[in-house]
Amino acid sequence: MSHHIVEFKKVSFRYPDGTEALRDISFRITHGESVGIIGANGAGKSTLLLHMNGYLMPTSGTVNIGDLFLTRQTQQEIRRKVGIVFQNPDDQLFMPTVYEDVAFGPLNLGLDETAVRERVEYALNLVSGVEIKNKPPHHLSCGQKSAVAIAAVMAVEPDILAMDEPAANLDPRSRRLLINLLKTFEHSKIIASHDLDLIMDVCHRCIVIKEGIVIADGLVTDILTNKKLLEDNNLELPLSLQRC
């Protein structure tokens, strides 16, 4: 049960302008775990996610995905294993129509045409987006764009799914659908978000980051009920806990 692990060992990262985004971060996410990453704006959540598919390389320390060390040589293979859904769907939908966009990943995997079509149909079905498949992305609503962005990543059938603020632009119903969808995804999930209710629903473990350092790592039920810890990190108790 160790083939879909994500392991960060003493990872530090410094942007070229000198900003230290990550400092000595270590954690290990095992197969099938779903982990929320929370923290204030600018705490380093997005930088952390960008390390998971080798877009950024750690300045020091190592990243392991499955049994692969992240290096320039293993980058491509790691990108197949880790699917990342970015925050702004406009950045992610770069092909002229929805269908072509979802097909982009599978085609890059070198699948043949029928397999690609199957994957695209499957992924669009997953997010109930079959009827918009021939539309250009600029004619979609924000919720539809997010759905397609997720479909585009799911079409590659990654082992590990990483998401940056997946519900940021969604209306409550689309957000609920997304949460239900995420619950059905069996592999490892890593979700960076300020939407603590979403994290409470989907994840069982939570990592709190502050100024590039892991300051808490534990069960969601422990961390998201710790009022002091959350408020120290510009966060609040999840709404569902505030009511009672």
Partner: protein, 268 residues
């Protein structure tokens, strides 16, 4: 006309391409080839030609009526870009002082070549617009790729089309924000304008980086793969061949004269 209206106007050409008529159903490659040959034939006429060009209006008119594209839409777009053609030809009447005799009337050759330029411009631009309006821009890109244009050019084109809307939306947001806080002063001075352009430029670079990132994470390795979407049908071949034959006839035989003679013969 303000920016918002312009923005929604551009999106309209996509809506047109969703229709389902005979012209829309044709294979994009067939339409592309026919259009290219049409453009070359029109351009190949000499600079004093007017009579020979007029029959070519048949094609845009047919495409427009069969494709159910509103005439005013095409006309407005043609007028919008017409200044370019006008400026190219405007000095001909002044520089070309030769005279041509038509039915005993002396007409300055410069004016004739000026009108010839305008006619060629109207024909080519309206046909190109109709191609996009009946095929959709992605469809045209696809056809180009399948006809063997290198992938890098085609992907440039489709990126251009995909992100021109995002860029315009970004501009629209900045312009709105400026208008909302300039209280009728318009804030039109050069300084604000330059800053807006600067901000747009920086945002574009940042976005380009995020897009590239998204492409990499889905396995992009330098080549844009595409699915085959279209299959040539007999209708497409018939369309392209008949188009080529008509173009040939219109180019090398004096169609206007023949029709004129014929009508004269019938009347007398």
């Amino acid at each position: 006309m303000n920016f918002d209206e312009q923005y929604y106007n551009i999106g309209f050409i996509d809506q047109l391409s969703y229709k389902d008529t005979f012209v829309h159903r044709l294979d994009p490659r067939a339409k592309l080839i026919a259009t290219l040959f049409f453009l070359f034939t029109v351009i190949s006429f000499s600079k004093y030609e007017i009579n020979g060009l007029l029959p070519f209006f048949l094609f845009p008119v047919l495409l427009m009526s069969m494709g159910e594209i509103p005439f005013m839409f095409i006309l407005r777009k043609v007028i919008l870009v017409s200044p370019f053609a006008v400026f190219i030809g405007i000095f001909n009447p002044l520089l070309d002082s030769g005279q041509v005799m038509i039915n005993g009337l002396a007409i300055s050759a410069g004016w004739i070549s000026f009108f010839s330029i305008l006619i060629k411009f109207t024909l080519t631009v309206s046909t190109a617009l109709l191609l996009i309006a009946t095929t959709s821009f992605p469809g045209v890109c696809h056809a180009l790729r399948q006809l063997g244009l290198p992938s890098i050019f085609v992907s440039q084109l489709s990126f251009l089309y995909r992100y021109i809307f995002v860029l315009m939306e970004e501009t629209m947001r900045i312009v709105r924000a400026r208008n909302m806080r300039s209280y009728g002063e318009k804030g039109k001075d050069m300084k604000t304008f330059i800053r807006i352009v600067g901000i747009l430029f920086i945002r574009t670079i940042e976005r380009a980086e995020r897009i590239y990132n998204a492409m990499l994470s889905r396995g992009f390795q330098g080549d844009m793969p595409t699915l085959k979407r279209f299959h040539i049908k007999t209708g497409d071949i018939v369309f392209t061949l008949s188009m080529l034959i008509f173009l040939y006839v219109f180019r090398f035989y004096p169609v206007t004269e023949t029709v004129g003679r014929f009508v004269q013969g019938v009347l007398s």
